[in-house]
């Protein structure tokens, strides 16, 4: 019988990501993350770099924005706007689905 190894991981949010970890997970430079935070497009816009910690939501949003910028050569503000709309769309779809519509 083949013995199966079960891999365990960390839950992001209980252990949040640092700036470097977020950048690596999105395949971007840390400067990209910093610029997007300073422009208010990502995370909570906190100016305290040392205390920056990122959640699952930040990771999903940063990857989405980076892909939009890359695929469409979109301005960061436009990618952020699209990300906002996609997030809102997903929330509304979830509500419609649970309402059986």
């Amino acid at each position: 019988m083949v013995q199966q190894t079960i891999t365990s991981g960390d839950l992001v949010d209980e252990a949040t990501l640092t700036l470097e970890e977020l950048a690596r997970a999105c395949s971007v430079e840390t400067d990209w993350v910093i610029e997007h935070i300073e422009s208010g497009l990502l995370a909570d816009g906190s100016p305290y770099v040392a205390s920056w910690r990122f959640t699952s939501h930040d990771l999903t949003r940063a990857r989405r924005m980076y892909q939009l910028e890359r695929d469409f050569e979109a301005a960061p503000e436009l990618a952020a706007l699209a990300a906002d709309l996609i997030e809102e769309n997903q929330r509304l779809k979830e509500r419609l689905r649970s309402a059986g519509l």
């Binding site: 079960i6 991981g9 839950l11 949010d13 939501h57």
Partner: protein
């Protein structure tokens, strides 16, 4: 392995200019963007489109691919001839082994080794890139925890230093308390490092199987429970299934449809567990027998009740 016609994928002619390729790519990327596309195979199509763009928008890769494409057509069984890429150096950043997880075997076999060989030749220790995958679980799994098998296409290096894509199955423990959209980070399960560098991490994004019975908001769960008119009017104890099992619920007397009851801490578990909100839905018994009709008629005569008047209508 089948030969892929990247020109066909992007819907452009073989003589298309760089600008035409970019335009065709953007048009398709918009159509098949997984966040918005309604096409059932959007993710797969997006992968193909990204691959096609990666090759056709890089002059060196395109030239090498064009030479191969003279001998093959789309769907034809294909093995890359030895040293098919001799004389080409793929210097474009971004489509080396870092991205192979998101590309097909065909792409990985053709273009997967360039970056690695160069990096190893220079003796750099480079950490492998992080990878991402989605994993779908049932809501109940978030209450109890679960194990899921995940199959990934992982880059593998053979004895000759060539990179190819190989299926790799991981059994992953899904800890209890996960939320939709949350990530599990598996250290060292991403792409392998180069020249002895550490492997990257694998991020799994949690999604729940759609369940019409529940609505999930963070750790809070919303669920509608049908009740009879007498349970709603007189109050009573009812049993209802919830994601954590059947619970006994006290329906307060005088409840109406839409009344929301909170079961504290019965949402998704965690350091701060969510709550379960039960919304009552009063369901009328059908007047499909003499007895039922008599009861409705008795109510009509005995109860001075006009919901339109009481609502000011």
């Amino acid at each position: 392995m089948e030969f892929k016609d990247y020109y066909q994928v992007l819907g452009v002619v073989k003589t298309a200019s760089a600008e035409e390729i970019k335009k065709a790519y953007r048009k398709l990327a918009r159509k098949f963007h997984p966040d918005v596309s309604k096409e059932p195979d959007a993710e797969l199509r997006m992968q193909e489109i990204n691959e096609a763009k990666a090759v056709l928008s890089d002059p060196e890769k395109r030239l090498a691919y064009d030479q191969l494409a003279q001998q093959y057509h789309s769907g034809q069984d294909f093995q890359p001839p030895p040293n098919w890429d001799a004389g080409f150096e793929f210097s474009g950043r971004g489509f080396e082994e870092a991205d192979l997880g998101e590309f097909s075997d065909f792409f990985a076999n053709l273009f997967g080794h360039g970056g690695r060989q160069r990096a190893e030749g220079r003796g750099y220790k480079i950490r492998g890139d992080d990878r991402h995958a989605k994993v779908v679980i049932d809501l109940e799994d978030a209450y109890l925890g679960a194990t899921r098998s995940i199959t990934l296409h992982a880059p593998q290096v053979d004895a000759h230093g060539r990179l190819s894509s190989k299926k790799h199955t991981l059994n992953v423990r899904i800890p209890k308390g996960v939320k939709a959209g949350q990530h599990i980070r598996l250290s060292g399960q991403g792409n392998p490092g180069i020249s002895g560098g550490p492997a990257g991490d694998l991020f799994l994004e949690i999604h729940f199987t759609p369940n019409p019975r529940y609505r999930i908001e963070g750790r809070d769960i919303y669920q509608t429970v049908p009740v009879t008119p007498w349970e709603a009017a007189l109050g009573g104890s009812i049993e209802t299934p919830t994601p954590s099992g059947v619970v006994k619920l006290k329906v307060p007397a005088g409840s109406q449809s839409g009344r929301r009851l909170r079961l504290k801490g019965r949402g998704i578990p965690g350091a701060a567990p969510g709550d379960l909100y039960v919304e009552l839905e009063v369901v009328l018994p059908p007047a499909d027998s003499d007895k039922a009709r008599q009861l409705y008629e008795a109510m009509a005569q005995e109860l001075a009740f006009d919901p339109r008047q009481s609502k000011g209508g």
